[in-house]
């Protein structure tokens, strides 16, 4: 929230390329450039929203930042420590500070473990607390996410989707992290439950001073929760600005189209709205278009867009954009 606060995480030119292999000898025949040179910073106690369509690389970006996948190139600096080059042992010491909440609480919780074991596992792994102290910590975590502390011996299937997501949040909080990547944490939940979970995340942020990278495709929810918003398209970042200026004055034609495509829950407005309807589909990241990656669907593309990669520049203070046509 505070502009003067310090930088918590700095991502510089981060890339993640996956090889495409073929045949018995797994000969490499191409590369999927899932994330291709993105840079941004997250300040302490801030929420940065990361939006984009499926396949744009937003989840891969989240995972590379946490080093769940090794980066192909680029740097991730967390509180001054360059974590892409740390040895596994040293990286492990950093892990408690950086946690993740996943999209589908159904898949990310082990069905054979009790809730107490799920939340307790990171505590055991990192030897934060033992015995009675650990049990108390687990109960306190359950309470903090709005679940009954008596539920420690239940299994994930005994809970609803929203409650399971709360368990996932409790597990992420178990090691007192500073930074949490929320990867589509509400996408699998019903509308009436989404607000409960988002409110919980916001309360926890206030109480514990957390910093979030909030990955989502839901632009209305991102507007609500994020202080600043980054928009990705096909592995690159196309725009980054404060929530207010991104939604109020989007500069990149992709951001403009994306915002105009979101249905608004007001029939009067919705039926009159002018939509920018993009033609075609997102191209394959294995073979992205030359120059600007958005040019194949861009309503205002010119010949130069196919030739030159647009520069990532700060158009106004704090408002970054990569587009030739933005003057």
């Amino acid at each position: 929230m505070n502009n003067s606060s310090e930088t918590l995480l700095k991502v510089e030119n981060l890339s993640k390329h996956f090889p495409i292999t073929k045949g018995v000898f797994r000969r490499q025949v191409g590369t999927v450039k899932a994330v291709d040179g993105i840079s941004f910073e997250i300040k302490e106690r801030e929420t940065l929203g990361l939006v984009g369509e499926s396949g744009c690389g937003k989840s891969t970006a989240g995972r590379v930042i946490l080093q769940l996948y090794p980066a192909t190139s680029g740097n991730v600096v967390f509180r001054g420590v360059e974590i892409t080059e740390l040895s596994p042992e040293k990286l492990r010491l950093q892990r408690p500070k950086m946690q993740m909440i996943f999209q589908d609480p159904q898949d990310s919780l082990n069905p054979r473990m009790t809730v107490g074991d799920i939340i307790g596992e990171p505590i055991i792994e990192h030897q934060f607390h033992k015995g009675k102290e650990r049990r108390e910590k687990i109960e306190q975590l359950l309470k903090s996410v709005g679940l009954n502390p008596k539920y420690t011996n239940r299994y994930p299937h005994e809970f609803s989707g929203g409650q399971r997501q709360r368990i996932g949040i409790a597990r992420a909080l178990a090691l007192n992290p500073d930074f949490i990547i929320c990867d589509e944490p509400i996408a699998a939940l019903d509308v009436s439950i989404q607000a409960q979970v988002v409110n919980l995340l916001e309360d926890l942020q206030d109480q514990l001073g957390l910093t979030y990278l909030f990955i989502s495709h839901d632009l209305s929810m991102i507007r609500h929760i994020a202080d600043r918003v980054a928009v990705m398209y096909l592995g690159v970042m196309v725009e980054l600005a404060s929530s207010k200026s991104l939604y109020g004055n989007p500069l990149h034609p992709y951001t403009q189209a994306l915002l105009s495509a979101v249905p608004v829950h007001d029939p009067e407005k919705e039926q009159k709205r002018e939509r920018i309807i993009l033609q075609g589909d997102v191209p394959s990241p294995a073979n992205p278009p030359s120059g600007c990656r958005f040019r194949t669907r861009c309503p205002i593309a010119e010949s130069q867009c196919a030739e030159k990669i647009p520069e990532w520049r700060e158009k106004k203070e704090g408002h970054w954009v990569a587009c030739h046509k933005v003057s």
């Binding site: 499926s54 509308v191 009067e268």
Partner: protein, 331 residues
């Protein structure tokens, strides 16, 4: 909108026999669909919206599901009394359906051409060549580039959005009177969703079919529907013309849903409103109002008796004791 009733559903009950007992997925639901209108059915998962729509086309897998009561009239005839053969004359020709996941609803080992032609050969009695011609025309209508070539492709050669277009082309090939669209854009990205909505709106103008659009997205419904029915726990809790529903929602659930949504424009809310609690367990629907445990206006009556959808206002109906009492009080 003309007032000719195409489909009339009366007291429909569809239950599922599961290990945990009987799940009352659709529990006494009644509504009408008029010629050429778009009815939006909104609800969360488990509210019974998909089961309602599948009941109309008699697509409920039996066992475990069963339509245990009610009537579904299509042009005055009760579809529930139809035999399997009679029903297959209706499906695709009179009432078509498109589904959420276009990959699973297309056969992966058949070319698009044979999947499209099948329905035209069956219902329209066309020979293969004529059917192919008509199919290509339909693909062109839904905006598939190079339809003459693409018709011989397999489903996996199409993207998600393109597959949904193919599904729409198949569904509309025989010029049905009713199209049931069960969350057709939920699995798609917003920019692709905008394309599909655009196509459906255009085709509706051109072909004039009635549409039942099932979704959990109140934004999508706002843009496409004429009338909206809100479902909760297997019941319709509110039904109104789209503008009325959004401007003056009456049921506390509808009110709650609309206020929980973050806005894309205007003031940013500091904190989202939320509806407390969980959706009901369909195995255990009490005789009280299904929303009572989560309702902020709950009274004793709500916990004893389930309110019926009040037909007092021909346009705007709501099933809620709080509303009934408010109206009695003011009149």
């Amino acid at each position: 909108m003309s007032q000719e009733k195409l489909i009339e559903i009366k007291n429909l009950k569809t239950f599922f026999n599961t290990e945990a007992g009987i799940a009352r997925a659709v529990n006494d639901v009644s509504f009408d669909i008029y010629k050429g209108e778009v009815l939006g059915i909104v609800g969360e998962s488990g509210s019974g919206k998909s089961v309602t729509s599948m009941s109309i086309n008699r697509l409920i897998p039996n066992p475990p599901g069963e339509i245990v009561g009610g009537e579904i009239f299509y042009k005055g005839k009760d579809l529930l009394k139809y035999s399997y053969e009679q029903m297959s004359e209706i499906r695709g020709k009179e009432i078509s359906m498109i589904f959420q996941e276009p990959m699973t609803s297309l056969n992966p080992v058949l070319r698009i051409s044979s999947q499209m032609n099948e329905i035209l050969v069956k219902h329209e009695g066309l020979i293969e060549e004529e059917a192919t011609k008509k199919s290509i025309e339909m693909l062109k209508r839904v905006g598939i580039p190079e339809p003459e070539r693409r018709i011989y492709d397999y489903p996996h050669q199409f993207s998600g959005g393109m597959r949904q277009r193919v599904m729409i082309a198949i569904a509309l090939a025989c010029d049905p009177k009713v199209l049931i669209a069960d969350e057709p854009t939920t699995a798609l990205d917003v920019t692709i969703q905008a394309q599909i909505l655009d196509i459906v709106k255009r085709l509706r103008k051109e072909l004039g079919m009635a549409i039942i659009w099932i979704t959990h997205d109140l934004g999508v419904v706002a843009g496409i529907a004429d009338r909206v029915a809100v479902m909760y726990g297997g019941f319709i809790v509110e039904q109104a013309p789209v503008k009325k529903l959004y401007s003056t929602p009456k049921h506390p659930y509808t009110q709650g849903l609309l206020s929980t949504l973050p806005k894309l424009e205007g003031e940013r809310t500091e904190r989202l409103e939320s509806i407390k609690g969980q959706p009901p367990d369909l195995h255990n629907i009490p005789d009280s109002c299904p929303f009572a445990p989560r309702c902020i206006h709950v009274s004793e009556k709500c916990q004893n008796e389930n309110p019926r959808l009040e037909m007092t206002d021909p346009e705007h109906q709501v099933a809620c004791w709080w509303n009934t009492e408010k109206e009695n009080y003011s009149s």
